[in-house]
Structure formats: C-alpha cells, structure tokens
C-alpha cells in the first residue's frame, strides 16, 4: 500500500513538473512578444514625429522622414491586394463550389497550401526572372506582382474554408427559386461567407506589408520621391533593412521608427481580423 502511494506521488510529481514546464514555455513565447514590442516602442518612439510622415528619406547625417517609403509601400500593397484578392477568391470558389472534391480540385488545393508556406524569397526570384530580366531594370510593377502572388494563397485558403461553412440549405433554397449557379455563388455564398473572406483579405494584407526579401530582387529601393511604377520605388521594409544595417545613427533611428510603424499596423490588422472572425462565429 505504501509502495503504491509512493508510486502515485511520483506520477503526480512528474505530472506537476511537466505541466509547469508547459506553462513556462507559454511564458517564454509571451516574453518574446513582449520583449520585441518593448524594444520597438523604446527605440521607435523617438523617431515618431511629424517629419517622419512629411519628409523624404535623408542622406546620411541629415534629417528626414520616410514619406516616399510609406507611399511606395502603400502603392505596392494596394496593387498586390487588388490584383491578388479576386484571383484568390475565384480559385477558392473553384475548389469549394465547382470541383466538388475531384482530383483537379484537390491538386489545386494542395499546391495552393504549399505555396502558402513556400519561402517568399523564391517568389521574388521567380518575378525577377519573369519581369526584371526581360524589362532590364527593377520596378514597382515587379514588386506589386510579387506581393500579388503572395496574396493569392492566403485569400484562396480562407475562401475555401469559409465557403465550406455555408450551409447547403442556402444553396438549395436559391436553386429551388431557379437562381443560376453563378448567382447562387455570388449573391448567396459570398454574402454568407463575407465576414470570413474579409478576415482572409486582412490577413493577406498584413502578410505582404512586412515582406522584405522578395522586394530586394524586384523593386530594390529609391532614395527619392518617385511615382513612376516603371522604376524602383522606395518602400518601408527595404528602407528599414538598409537603414538598420547602415553605420549612421540617424538612419538607424529612422529604421526603428519605420519598424514600429509597420509592426503596429500589422498587429492592428491581425487583431482586427481575428476579432472580426470571432465576432462572426459568435453570431452563428
């Protein structure tokens, strides 16, 4: 009996130790989130001032802001989202509504999921070979195309997941009224899945607005204000990267400022997307 009890105590102790470790692991994860945010805030706040939003990227040693980089990032992100989203939605529609689980649909979904996690730097190389080499120079078009390619798998994935949640009864009811299939998809299914699809688009925007590596091969960057989509254009991630690696304190400060800006924007998008998603699921 005593032996049994001591074995039981041993099991309890092991349980306690391992569960404490798991709590510790969670604490470590949260600690790093906190540490990164803390560093961004302490280093970045100093750079957040009006000139950050009104002046161009400076030469080393002089004062300036990030206006041209913010503009460039915004333009390319909008281009990537506007081009990539409809494509992603159509692909998702094919998988969820038309393929009905056939081999082609499964293959497309599989490849899409692989693309979703594929290294973005590879996509950058692809667009470099596809657009930069034939055109002979880096350009904002190439950067926007890269971002569009990165948007597609994210939007496709959420569209498939969300359309799968639409009850079949809705489709049947619409079909019984004589509604053609495309109309059922657009007016009934999309409408029912609207919230989730919007979440997917927001997550896609969050993902591309911080992408750096593929832009190095496709847009490069630009020291000056440029609106020419056919030329290299300044953009936040590449400017942050260049400035952070430079030896000049002014540039490093601007890099921290840009990093804070980009992270806050992305985290807000992420939180908003998740709140929207949970709001939608609570309503159902």
């Amino acid at each position: 009996m005593a032996k049994d009890l001591s074995r039981y105590a041993g099991r309890r102790r092991k349980n306690w130790i391992i569960l404490s470790l798991s709590m510790f692991a969670t604490a470590i994860g949260l600690f790093f989130l906190g540490a990164i945010m803390f560093a961004l805030l302490t280093e970045g706040i100093a750079a957040i001032r009006p000139s950050l939003f009104t002046e161009m990227t400076p030469a080393p040693g002089s004062d300036g802001g990030l206006l041209n980089a913010i503009y460039g990032s915004a333009v390319m992100t909008v281009f990537g989202t506007v081009v990539g989203t409809p494509i992603g939605i159509l692909v998702g529609t094919y998988i969820a509504e038309y393929s009905r689980g056939n081999k082609l649909g499964q293959a497309i979904q599989f490849i899409n999921d692989v693309l979703l996690s594929a290294p973005s730097i590879i996509v950058g190389l692809f667009v470099y070979e596809l657009l930069v080499v034939p055109m002979g120079h880096f350009s904002a078009w190439a950067g926007g195309t890269t971002l569009a390619i990165l948007v597609i798998p994210v939007v496709t994935r959420t569209t498939v997941d969300m359309l799968a949640l639409v009850p079949n009864a809705l489709r049947e009811a619409a079909a019984a009224l004589g509604t053609p299939k495309w109309r059922i998809t657009v007016s009934v299914c999309y409408r029912a899945a609207r919230q989730g699809m919007l979440t997917g688009i927001m997550l896609a925007v969050a993902r591309i607005s911080g992408e750096t590596a593929p832009l190095l091969f496709t847009v490069l960057s630009n020291q000056f204000w440029s609106m020419d989509m056919n030329r290299p254009i300044a953009n936040l991630p590449v400017v942050i990267s260049n400035f952070a690696l430079s030896p000049y304190p002014d540039w490093q400060r601007l890099a921290w400022g840009g990093a804070l800006l980009i992270t806050v924007a992305i985290l807000c998008l992420n939180i908003a997307a998740r709140t929207l998603a949970s709001f939608g699921s609570a309503k159902q």
Partner: protein, 329 residues
C-alpha cells in the same frame, strides 16, 4: 436523404431549362470558366517558379555540374562557386530551430489545450499567434540590436564556459562569443516557428474525441499521462505534419537570418561562429552580384531551397490531410 437531395439539387446542370435562361447559361459558363482558369493558374505559378529557377540556374549547373552541391568554395573574384556552406548553414540553423522550437511549441499547445482557464484561452492563443504576424525584418533588427548583444554578453560566455569543456560536443560551443552567428539565427528561428507549430498542435489536440480522454482520466491517469499516452499517439501524424510545416518555414526564412547570421562563407565547428544560409546568401548578395555565373549560382541556391522546401511542405501537407480524414471519420 438530406445529403442526397443537396447533391442532386445543386449539381443540376444549369442547361436543364435552356429556353428560359439563355444568357444566364452564358454567364454560368463564364463564371465557371474563370474559376477554373485561375485554379489552373495556381498550378501554372508553381510550374513557372520551378521552370524559371531551372532556366536561371542552367549556366551555373553547366559550369559546375552536380559538384556544385558539395563544393565549399564561394569566390566571386575567381568565379568559383559551391553550395556546401549555405546548405550546411540552412540545415544547422533549422536543426537548432527545431530542437529548441518543437518542445517549446509542444509546451504551449499542452498548456492551451489542457491547463489554460477557458477565459484566458482565446487571448493567449491570439497573443502567441501575433508572434507569427510580426514580419521577418522586425525579428531581424531586434535580433541584431537587442538579442545578439544580449546573447554575446550573458549567454554565450556561459555556454563556452560550461558546455565548451564537455568532450565531443565541446567543439560546438568553442571559440569567442561573436553575438551574431549560427546559434543566434537558430534561436530566432525557433521563436519564429513557435506560433506555427503550436497552433497546429493545438488544433490537432482538439480533435481527440473527449470520450478517449475521459476514459483515461476515469482510469486514474494524470494529465501528463493522458497527453503522452492518449493524445499524442492519436495525433502523431498531425503533430509530425505541424513540425514539418515549421521546418519548411525555418528553412526559407530570410531577413531575420540575414541580419543575425554574420554572412560568412565558411564552415566552422563552433555554433557561435558566423555562417550563412541559402536564403541569407541570396538576400545579401543577389543585388550586388554581377550578371552571369555569379547570379546564376545564386539562382541555383534558390532552386535547391525550392526543391527542399517543396518536399518538406508537401510531406507536411500530406500528413495534415491524413489527420483531417482521420478526424473526419
């Protein structure tokens, strides 16, 4: 009955009443065609990526042949290139990321599914997933300015002082504390893959039927025994898939690694020493490379990365699909 009905009703081809809906038929066909077209477009993108990398790398492959894979030299001046050092760096940083990241992710998943009070579950999950939202470049600057100096000042001297004297593995922890280097890159990758792996583990843990869990508890198992003997065996395919997905991410991660790895083209036994990975070599050298053999060699590195990550991710996906089917039936 219900299922059958839905299948027949929705699948009725819209041409069943041709006279009534002529133009609608056309629209139906167009819409279907558009979705199919872009569906095929996805396959085309993947094919295009592979093809463009093969075309771009042909010059280097013609010059160096398969020996490119195990040549250690990387010398832009004499135009002799080999992929051994970047491949070594990619593998070693990924191993460090997995060794550190997988147990951490497992801990997080166990905490969230077994221990966490329901009220905290959602906020904590979101907080952990926010780690995945932070862009690579932010990890990069944080790693370069905060994490690497910290490791250099506090952690690495300790590792060199203790593990550095242990026979066999001592060489891994020898040499001066550089701060930046392979170890730092691996640790940052571990933090970066944590949210991916832990959220998949959490999701697959939740597919375990409550009856299995409750039976085990009913027999007097402790929480840990339920996790180790019931939950983990039931979900092992999904868990492996999640880990592979994290591995695929770690191998392709670029900016964070580029910032902290030191970009040195050499293989050193010490994990503290600077090194390079495939992706960091690309990010660091591509825009400065002269056209021709140099660029082509870099693209060949990209091709190698593409092939490795494709197989890792495909295997991961395959396992997760198997897990889904198992949960579905």
């Amino acid at each position: 009955m219900h299922e059958e009905l839905s299948a027949t009703v929705v699948d009725i081809p819209s041409s069943s009443t041709p006279r009534l809906r002529g133009p609608q038929d056309l629209l139906d066909g167009l819409f279907r065609g558009a979705t199919l077209f872009f569906g095929l477009f996805i396959l085309l993108i993947l094919g295009g990526i592979g093809l463009s990398l093969v075309v771009g790398s042909s010059e280097a492959l013609r010059t160096f042949g398969l020996g490119f894979l195990w040549t250690e030299t990387w010398n832009p001046a004499t135009e002799v290139f080999g992929a051994l050092v970047p491949i070594y760096g990619t593998i070693v940083t990924s191993i460090i990321a997995m060794v550190v990241g997988v147990p951490l992710s497992f801990g997080v998943a166990v905490f969230l599914t077994e221990l966490c009070p329901p009220m905290l579950k959602r906020p904590l999950s979101i907080a952990i997933e926010l780690l995945a939202g932070i862009p690579s470049i932010i990890y990069g600057i944080w790693g370069l300015f905060v994490f690497a100096p910290f490791l250099q000042a506090h952690v690495q001297p300790f590792l060199i002082g203790t593990l550095g004297h242990v026979p066999l593995i001592g060489a891994l922890f020898g040499g001066p504390p550089f701060g930046i280097g392979i170890l730092t890159a691996g640790l940052i990758l571990a933090i970066m893959v944590l949210p991916f792996i832990s959220s998949i583990m959490r999701d697959v843990f939740e597919t375990v039927p409550p009856m299995l869990r409750e039976s085990a508890y009913g027999l007097g198992c402790t929480t840990w025994e339920v996790v180790w003997r019931i939950v983990l065996p039931y979900t092992k395919v999904g868990v492996t898939g999640g880990i592979m997905l994290g591995l695929g991410r770690a191998m392709g991660e670029t900016m964070a690694v580029t910032f902290v790895i030191g970009n040195a083209h050499r293989i050193t036994t010490s994990l503290m020493a600077p090194g390079t990975t495939i992706s960091s070599a690309l990010a660091n050298e591509f825009t400065e490379a002269s056209r021709g053999l140099y660029t082509s060699s870099l693209i060949t590195l990209g091709l190698i990365l593409f092939i490795i990550t494709f197989f890792v991710l495909a295997a991961a996906k395959y396992m997760l699909i198997r897990m889904q089917r198992q949960a579905g039936t």
